[in-house]
Structures are given as structure tokens and as C-alpha cells.
């Protein structure tokens, strides 16, 4: 039993970190916000071509690097740190995971190589749909970066379908959403032809998806802490840097306390998924609820510590604050995840 990154994992961590630190800027994110796509194309292409990050969970035989959940979490964390506006979570993690795990050889051959190269962008719709006779119908207003996706992984009754967006039975419309770094689109399917990804159930997709969102939250929370620490170390009021006041120090300490637990949660969940452990579901519920709440708190504290500046559009604090909120509600609110944990630890037949 060992709870630390392997050498390979540590190397990936360092490589991704230094790559993103050098190439990802909030300027890129803001351009992607302004044009409404939430898609920082230069960054996305660099991720694909320079580090092959778009294919990390794709089998080597389809052009990927076949890495695990821990590596996925490492990359999510780094992208979250940058509030990067890329469809990584929706396309390279969730949709790719569904196809790699659930697709037939034909489906895998059709999609995985293009996904690995970053040439195909997909998204997912986790609620609001039903399927009859291979035709999917329903509406979801919550499809991340849906307007950039050529196909959607759709969940209906625990089965997973692949639906092209390029048909008359599919209507995808843009919306202004709170978090503009991953804008939510409205998807309506009206008896749209769907391919079943037969080898996987939606519940098998969830743990990695939850953990990936949690890892994004972890990275974002760390960024909020780092930016706050930097600011309070420089800002002077009452003749002292404000970082010398206990009210400020203790708030930052609380952020670090939360973050450290969130970090344990994310990598515990990823480790459980990688080792097919009995606790994979428990751990990913824990990671999703804990890390996302920590992010929301840290992003809120950052605004508070930055004062007026943190409340301006110009400062990046609100990008984190809004993404934190989006992470919180995406694929189940914290209280829902905790209730699922309660179901696991308090089996009904054991209750009075």
C-alpha cells in the first residue's frame, strides 16, 4: 500500500504543470468567453499536438497513451488551476471514457483516433432524455460547450448513447451561462438516431466523471489560495501587509485545510478507480462533494480577501468563482452526493 505518485505520475504532473503554466493564460480564456464558445482553440491544439493530452485515456492501439484515473486527475487539476477554457472534461474525459469503455470495435475505431488527436470534440448530456427503438428524445439545457460538439454522449435509463449533432433531429442552441469558460448549451433531441455504447452503463462512467470535476475544483481552489496569498503579502493597510492580520491568515489557513482534504479526496478516488477498489464509488462521491465545496469556499474567500478588486470583471477572481459554482452543480450537488454516501454506509435494512 502506497499513497503517493509513482515516478511516472510525478513526471506527468511536472510536465503538464510547466506546459500549461507557459502556454495557458486567462487572456486566452477571456477570448474564448467573449466569442461565446468557451473554447480556447490555440490552447486545445497545443494540448493535443505538443503533449498528446487529448488522448491520455485512449488505448495505445487507437493513438492514445492509455493512462489511468490518477493521471486524468493530475491533468484536470492543472487545467482547473488555469481556469482553462477547453472541452477537456466533456470531450477528452467523459465522452472519451464512454466510447473507450463502452464502444464496439467499430465505434472505437471511428472515434478514438480523432479524439486522441483533438480533432473531434464531443460533449455529454447526463439528464433529461429517454430512448425508444433506438431513437432518443428529450431536452437538456446543460450541455457543456455543446455548440462546439459534433456528437453527444447521452445518458438515458443508465444506458449510454452516442448522438450526432449534425442532423435535423438535433437542435443545439447557445445560451449565456454563469460560467463562460464552459458555456452550457441547450440540446433538444426529437427521435434522434442514436448508437448504443453497449458495453458500459452510465453508472460506470460516473466515478471518473465525478473525480475529474473534483480535480478541476482542486486546481481552481489551489489557484484561489495562491492568488490570495500573493495579494495579501503585498497589500498594505493600517501600515501592515494585510497578510499579517489573523483574520486574513486564519481564513487562508482554512482554505489550505480544505484544500489538503480535497487533495486527499481526489487522489483517493482516482486511486480507487485505478485499482478497481470497492470504495471507488464512495470515494468519488466524497471527492465530488468535498472538492467542489472547497472550491466554492476558496473562490468566495478569495473575493473577500481581494476586496473591491476581486469583485471586478477585470480580475480573474470571478472566473474561478463562477466555475466553482458550475462544478458544484454539474452532475449532482454536494448534498445529493452525500445522500448517496449515506445510502452506502447506512444500508436501509440495518435501520430501525
Amino acid at each position: 500500500m502506497r499513497f503517493a505518485f509513482s515516478e511516472d505520475q510525478a513526471a506527468i504532473h511536472d510536465a503538464v504543470d510547466s506546459f500549461l503554466t507557459s502556454i495557458s493564460t486567462s487572456g486566452g480564456t477571456r477570448l474564448a468567453m467573449d466569442d461565446g464558445t468557451g473554447l480556447d482553440r490555440p490552447l486545445w491544439h497545443a494540448m493535443a499536438s505538443e503533449l498528446g493530452l487529448t488522448g491520455t485515456i485512449i488505448p495505445e492501439s487507437f493513438g492514445g497513451s492509455e493512462l489511468g484515473a490518477v493521471e486524468t486527475a493530475i491533468i484536470c487539476e492543472a487545467l482547473g488551476y488555469q481556469v482553462a477554457a477547453v472541452p477537456w472534461l466533456a470531450s477528452a474525459v467523459i465522452a472519451t471514457h464512454a466510447i473507450a469503455r463502452g464502444g464496439s470495435d467499430a465505434q472505437r475505431s471511428e472515434w478514438l483516433p480523432r479524439l486522441a488527436e483533438g480533432n473531434a470534440i464531443l460533449s455529454f448530456a447526463d439528464k433529461g432524455f429517454s430512448c425508444q427503438n433506438g431513437l432518443v428524445s428529450g431536452t437538456s439545457r446543460f450541455v457543456p460547450q455543446g455548440c462546439s460538439a459534433e456528437a453527444i454522449i447521452v445518458h438515458a435509463d443508465n444506458r449510454v448513447y452516442l448522438v450526432s449533432t449534425d442532423t435535423e433531429y438535433c437542435l443545439m442552441s447557445p445560451q449565456t451561462s454563469l460560467d463562460q469558460t464552459r458555456p452550457l448549451a441547450k440540446l433538444t433531441l426529437d427521435h434522434a438516431k442514436a448508437e448504443l455504447l453497449a458495453a458500459v452503463g452510465w453508472d460506470e462512467i460516473e466515478p471518473l466523471a465525478w473525480t475529474a470535476i473534483a480535480a478541476d475544483a482542486l486546481g481552481g481552489a489551489q489557484a484561489c489560495l495562491d492568488q490570495s496569498v500573493a495579494y495579501v503579502g503585498e497589500r498594505v493597510q493600517f501600515g501592515r501587509v494585510i497578510g499579517s492580520f489573523q483574520a486574513v491568515k486564519h481564513k487562508l489557513a482554512d482554505m489550505l485545510i480544505g484544500l489538503e482534504q480535497a487533495r486527499s479526496a481526489v487522489y483517493w478516488a482516482a486511486g480507487e478507480i485505478d485499482s478497481d477498489g470497492d470504495d471507488a464509488r464512495l470515494a468519488s462521491h466524497a471527492a465530488k462533494s468535498f472538492a467542489c465545496e472547497t472550491y466554492a469556499e476558496c473562490a468566495g474567500h478569495a473575493i473577500q480577501l481581494l476586496g473591491g478588486i476581486g469583485f471586478t470583471w477585470e480580475h480573474d477572481a470571478h472566473l474561478y468563482f463562477k466555475r466553482a459554482r458550475a462544478n458544484l452543480s454539474m452532475m449532482g450537488a454536494p448534498s445529493w452526493h452525500r445522500e448517496q454516501i449515506a445510502k452506502l454506509i447506512l444500508p436501509e435494512d440495518l435501520c430501525a
Binding site: D34, D35, G36, R141, F142, S173, P174, Q175, T176, S177, L178, D179, Q180, L184, K186, R235, V236, Q237, F238, G239, R240, V241, I242, S244, F245, A247, V248, G300, I303, Q304, G307, G308, G310, F311, T312, W313, E314, A317, H318, F321, K322, R325, A326, S329, M330, A333, S335
Partner: protein, 396 residues
């Protein structure tokens, strides 16, 4: 202790309700239910003037300045009815609620007769110039200077977080009139017209997408020598008195807005069924409790209750700011992902639904007018007599 209303209070309520109902369903029906503080400034200016003509703009002021000499109960009643009728945010909030009462306390007769009627009539809209880039929590670090040149003050410096300055005619600003003075000494409270070459205003876009706040640049801005409220060099006292008012009677109207906001959250919870979720029910109940306690806290503070009246006042700002922040989070949890979607807007524009805007704007509540941290210092020092922290000697 009397929690019921008198006959004449009930009559006052009926009169206010009738007038508001007729105005907001007639000529000003476009403003009914408006909650955004930067929307429709031109119409809201007309609304200020309409209120003024009917003597409903400043009910608590003396009749000779355009008010109705309303009692505290009556002011509360008017605020309740204003909110119930869906009255829009007051464009002249700062003039009506903060500066006016301060002029009533510190103004000369001449100042009262010039400035107060203009406020009550909606002819002079006011904004507040306190904070500066290096003087936020530490307000006494103000650097903006004012020097007397003949019969005029010449003012130089920069103010920030100046709410609604872009719609205002005047600003009340705190400036250093004693050269080389430090801290709270040597400051004066100046009344400065904004329509002049020495003043420029740059709106600051906020996380809501709106620009309620502004930067205010003063480059040899001018005002008449007698446009000082209180003593020259005695500005700190006036400014603090105004902040006291901000925490006091001005809050009753605000509470009615809070009532509307909480009602909107409850309505949303009923609509989408989360009103049946025991966790949400706990939080809705706690919000209801919090709002009621603010109301009775304000009544205690304003009603001359002998039991720790000061403490009720001193703890009020952080109470409502924290309450509203929690309400914003509750609203988001009630609505779920729904709250994160707005109707499609032209690229580059950004506006969220009302309850989402509440969630965002509430993040400023715990910052402006003294952050929650500054409030706790103040409560500990003034309310509990604990020692102040040692000041450092770094320059901001």
C-alpha cells in the same frame, strides 16, 4: 413593547399604498418590479421627481424640506408598502438615505435650504467618494487633497467604488484639507458638483456584468469654499456619522427588498419542488428567521430600546451582509443548474437571472461599507472594549 399599529399608522399605510399602487400601475408601470440598480436610470430619475412632487421621496424629513415628519413607525410602513408595490431601487439612495440625514445633523441653515429640497425633489442625485486605491479598509489613509484657492476648493486625487457616480450630479467626498496631516485628522467632508472639467468618471465592470461602481478622478476639481459639511478638518466625524446612518434607519427600506428576494427564493422552491426537501426547508426557515431578527434588531436599534441599543446597531451591517450572501447561495441551490442559464444575449453581453444576480452581487455586500472583517474589529473594539491592533509603519 407594542407590536401593533395605531389607527393613524393604519391610515398612513392606506394612503401610501394607494398612491404607490396608482403610480406603479399607471405612469411608472415600466419600473414596477425592477431590481437592477443600474437599469433605466432616466426613468428612475423621473420616478425620483414624481415621488418628490407628491412628498413621498423623503417621508421622514421635516415638511419644510419636502418630507412628512414621519415617525419611525411610519417610515417603516412606507418602506414596507414601497416594497410591496414593487417600487424600483432608488436612484438617489445615497442622497435620500445617507447625505440628507447627515446634512440635517451637520448642515448650516444655508446648506439645508439649498441641498435638501433639491434631494427631495429629485433634482440633485448624489454619490459617495470615500474609498481610494490605497484607502480601503483603512479609510483614514485617504490621500485626495483639497486646497482653498480664494473662494473655491481645488481637489486632486482618485476615488474608487463610487456607486452610481455615472448617474449623479454631486458627490460628497472625504479629502485631506490639512497638508501633511495623517490618519483621521485634517480631513474635510466636501460637497462637489460632478459636471465640471476637473472630474472624470470611469465605470468599473463587475462580476455581475454591470457597472454600478466607478472610479472618480479629481484633477483640479472645484467646489465653493462653503461647500464643507461640518468643520474644516472635522470630516472624519461627519463621515463616521454618515456610516452610522448607513447602518441605521436607512436599512429599513433595504429589508423590504430582502423580503422580496426571500419571497422569490421561496416561490422558486415551491415551483420546482425543492420546497419539500428537508435540507432546503431548514435553510428557508433559517433565512426567514434571519430576516425577522433583522427587522426586530432594527426596531430595537431605532426604537430607543435601552438594552444594548448600540450593540444592535453595531452588529447590523455584518448581519444583513452575511444573511444576503447565504440567501444567494440558497437561491442557487434551490434552482440548481437552472440558475446558471440566462436567455441568449448578444456576444460580449452578460446578464444573469435575478436570483443569480443576487448570488453574485451579495459577494460585494460583505466588502463595501466595511468588510465583514472590519465590522468584527469594530464590534470587538466598540461593542466589547477590546484593544485595537498595533498599527504598522509601512506605506501603502
Amino acid at each position: 413593547m407594542r407590536l401593533t399599529y395605531t389607527e393613524s399608522e393604519r391610515a398612513f399605510r392606506a394612503e401610501a399604498a394607494d398612491w404607490l399602487q396608482s403610480a406603479l400601475s399607471g405612469e411608472f408601470s415600466d419600473l414596477r418590479g425592477l431590481t437592477n440598480r443600474v437599469s433605466a436610470p432616466k426613468r428612475r430619475l423621473e420616478w425620483e421627481q414624481h415621488l418628490g412632487q407628491a412628498r413621498w421621496s423623503v417621508v421622514g424629513w421635516p415638511a419644510k424640506f419636502g418630507g412628512r415628519d414621519a415617525t419611525l413607525s411610519e417610515r417603516l410602513i412606507f418602506a414596507e408598502e414601497y416594497a410591496a408595490a414593487g417600487g424600483p431601487p432608488r436612484l438617489n439612495h445615497l442622497g435620500v438615505e445617507l447625505l440628507g440625514p447627515t446634512i440635517l445633523t451637520y448642515g448650516t441653515d444655508a446648506q439645508k435650504s439649498v441641498f435638501l429640497p433639491a434631494i427631495s425633489a429629485g433634482e440633485a442625485i448624489w454619490c459617495q467618494g470615500y474609498s481610494e486605491p490605497s484607502a480601503g479598509s483603512d479609510l483614514s489613509a485617504i490621500r485626495t487633497s483639497a486646497q482653498l484657492h480664494g473662494d473655491q476648493w481645488s481637489i486632486n486625487g482618485q476615488k474608487v467604488w463610487t456607486s452610481l457616480a455615472q448617474f449623479s450630479d454631486w458627490a460628497f467626498i472625504l479629502a485631506r484639507t490639512t497638508p501633511k496631516s495623517v490618519g483621521r485628522d485634517g480631513l474635510s467632508f466636501l460637497l462637489v458638483p460632478l459636471d465640471q472639467p476637473g472630474v472624470s468618471i470611469r465605470p468599473i465592470r463587475q462580476i455581475t456584468g454591470d457597472a454600478e461602481f466607478n472610479e472618480l478622478f479629481l484633477d483640479d476639481a472645484r467646489t465653493a469654499a462653503d461647500n464643507v459639511l461640518g468643520k474644516v478638518g472635522g470630516g472624519w466625524e461627519v463621515a463616521m456619522s454618515l456610516l452610522g446612518i448607513e447602518r441605521g434607519v436607512s436599512t429599513l427600506g433595504q429589508q423590504m427588498t430582502f423580503r422580496n428576494e426571500l419571497d422569490a427564493v421561496m416561490a422558486a422552491a415551491r415551483r420546482n419542488g425543492t420546497a419539500k426537501d428537508p435540507l432546503i426547508r431548514q435553510r428557508l426557515a433559517q433565512s426567514e428567521i434571519g430576516l425577522r431578527l433583522m427587522r426586530f434588531g432594527a426596531l430595537r436599534m431605532l426604537g430607543g430600546a435601552s438594552d444594548n441599543q448600540t450593540n444592535a446597531a453595531i452588529t447590523y451591517k455584518i448581519q444583513w451582509a452575511s444573511w444576503r450572501r447565504s440567501l444567494g447561495e440558497l437561491a442557487m441551490d434551490v434552482l440548481g443548474q437552472e440558475a446558471e442559464i440566462a436567455p441568449a444575449l448578444p456576444a460580449g453581453e452578460y446578464a444573469m437571472p435575478m436570483l443569480t444576480e443576487l448570488f453574485l452581487s451579495a459577494r460585494a455586500d460583505t466588502i463595501y461599507g466595511g468588510t465583514n472583517q472590519i465590522q468584527r474589529n469594530l464590534i470587538a473594539e466598540r461593542g466589547l472594549g477590546l484593544p485595537r491592533e498595533p498599527r504598522g509603519d509601512l506605506k501603502g
